[in-house]
Symmetry: C2
Subunit: 266 residues, 2 copies
């Protein structure tokens, strides 16, 4: 019932800290200290349920990470850095690490990614599908045909389309309503709009995409009767590449038939 916004600051913070690599004790200790500002091992143990004797280890771990300062007295006292400073610390560290990852990965990327002919690839999850679509947009050279329900036309997709358009790629966009069309026309001046190929919004269809007439993607919202009604993750897509690819052949036929009525295929 209660999703991510702020269910319980305690647990939310603890969960994130753990996923950032802190031990459970360290995470709970830091959260306790963040509420207390300053405290002894006993204080921390009481509000965090961390065994008192283990608060010392946890605090060491936090001190090594620069999240907690230690007052050498008896009893020792501990001091947590501010929420803002802590967040920034993680932000920087993680930014660093993604940069390292990016550099390392691009080093070993293959020269030419082979373009498959046969078969159909699968992608699950709305976020992943969107990522894939954006990746394909970025590699487009001549033409992008994209048909989508409006809910899935997020800003990052519009950005990617806009960039492609700036590169000289021709954009053909379908499935969007009149008011949204106007907004799009501002962002992507060269885009051509076309009507839905069929009754689009009633079905649980997601998107249709064709790039340069040789790479296609279809997705469906698999909100089966079992899935939670508003779960944004339940999207499944398939895609294929290559002139002979079966999925490409089928979609190409559909789009061509609809977009160029005077050029019937044989």
């Amino acid at each position: 019932m209660n999703n991510d916004p702020i269910e319980d600051p305690q647990s939310a913070a603890i969960e994130q800290l753990e996923r950032f690599g802190l031990s459970a004790y360290a995470a709970r200790t830091f959260v306790a200290l963040a509420s207390l500002g300053t405290g002894t091992a006993r204080d921390i143990s009481q509000v965090s349920d961390v065994p008192r004797t283990r608060v010392y280890d946890a605090v060491d771990e936090l001190h090594d990470r620069g999240l907690v300062d230690i007052l050498q007295s008896s009893p020792k006292q501990f001091w947590a850095i501010s929420a803002e400073t802590a967040s920034r610390t993680f932000e920087h560290e993680l930014q660093n690490r993604t940069d390292i990852l990016r550099a390392a990965l691009s080093e070993l990327e293959p020269i030419e990614r082979r373009t498959e002919q046969r078969g159909v690839w699968t992608v699950d999850g709305q976020r992943s599908v969107t990522d894939r679509v954006i990746e394909f947009f970025e590699n487009a050279e001549e033409e992008i045909v994209y048909m989508t329900v409006e809910d899935l036309l997020t800003d990052d997709l519009i950005d990617a389309l806009s960039e492609a358009a700036a590169r000289g790629v021709s954009i053909k966009l379908g499935g969007v309503s009149a008011p949204v069309q106007e907004r799009i026309q501002d962002d992507i001046p060269g885009a051509t709009m076309f009507e839905s190929l069929w009754v689009w919004s009633d079905t649980s269809a997601g998107r249709l995409m064709m790039i340069d007439g040789r790479k296609t993607l279809v997705s469906a919202l698999v909100n089966g009767a079992d899935a939670s009604p508003s779960d944004p993750r339940s999207e499944t897509a398939i895609w294929g590449e290559g002139d002979r690819n079966s999925l490409v052949v089928v979609l190409k036929a559909i789009f061509t038939w609809r977009l160029d009525p005077e050029t019937p295929e044989e």
Copy 2:
């Protein structure tokens, strides 16, 4: 000998992926796939040394995260998203999570952080000390006195000083050479420069800081004979707060004596 730049793209990427929460198998599998572009379980097993039978689990994990697509055929084939898309995926996810953390932590931050009177807090590590100094700069209300060796006067510190100056805080900066002083004057118009209190650059001293006459920090570069000569992490600082705090009293005396010679303290 060979630090972070790019020792070995393989291991660097694997390490980062693991720290981002992937299992060792998943990390190695993804790196292998990133080099191959496309491959079967056998291919992956050969270049990654992941047992073939466990490539399937690893690939499932990666598929759930949206990093790998699966071609349902026999043998199954696997496809890795591009280095750029992968990096962006992580970037977004981590940005999201730091935002959640920031929100959660500031929710439970105490109303007023008690200002300690007695005792001295310790901080280790150059990064942590810098973070602490910045945090203190941000809370400054009237005056910042800061003396540092130039190596430690990084851009983020200058930014923080500049913001404080814009708030109307008076800045007194010491220990920097003439050429650097000029540059600083541009960024922080209102700053006052003063000479080093003593032969500063010869010692292994790090920084001296005083905020509003009631919070002070001292650091030293503990490059003992044992530590590696250029290790940037070997800095240790202590700080204290409150009018009665011993560290504050001592530093206040020193700074006042030097900065206001005509007002001798008693």
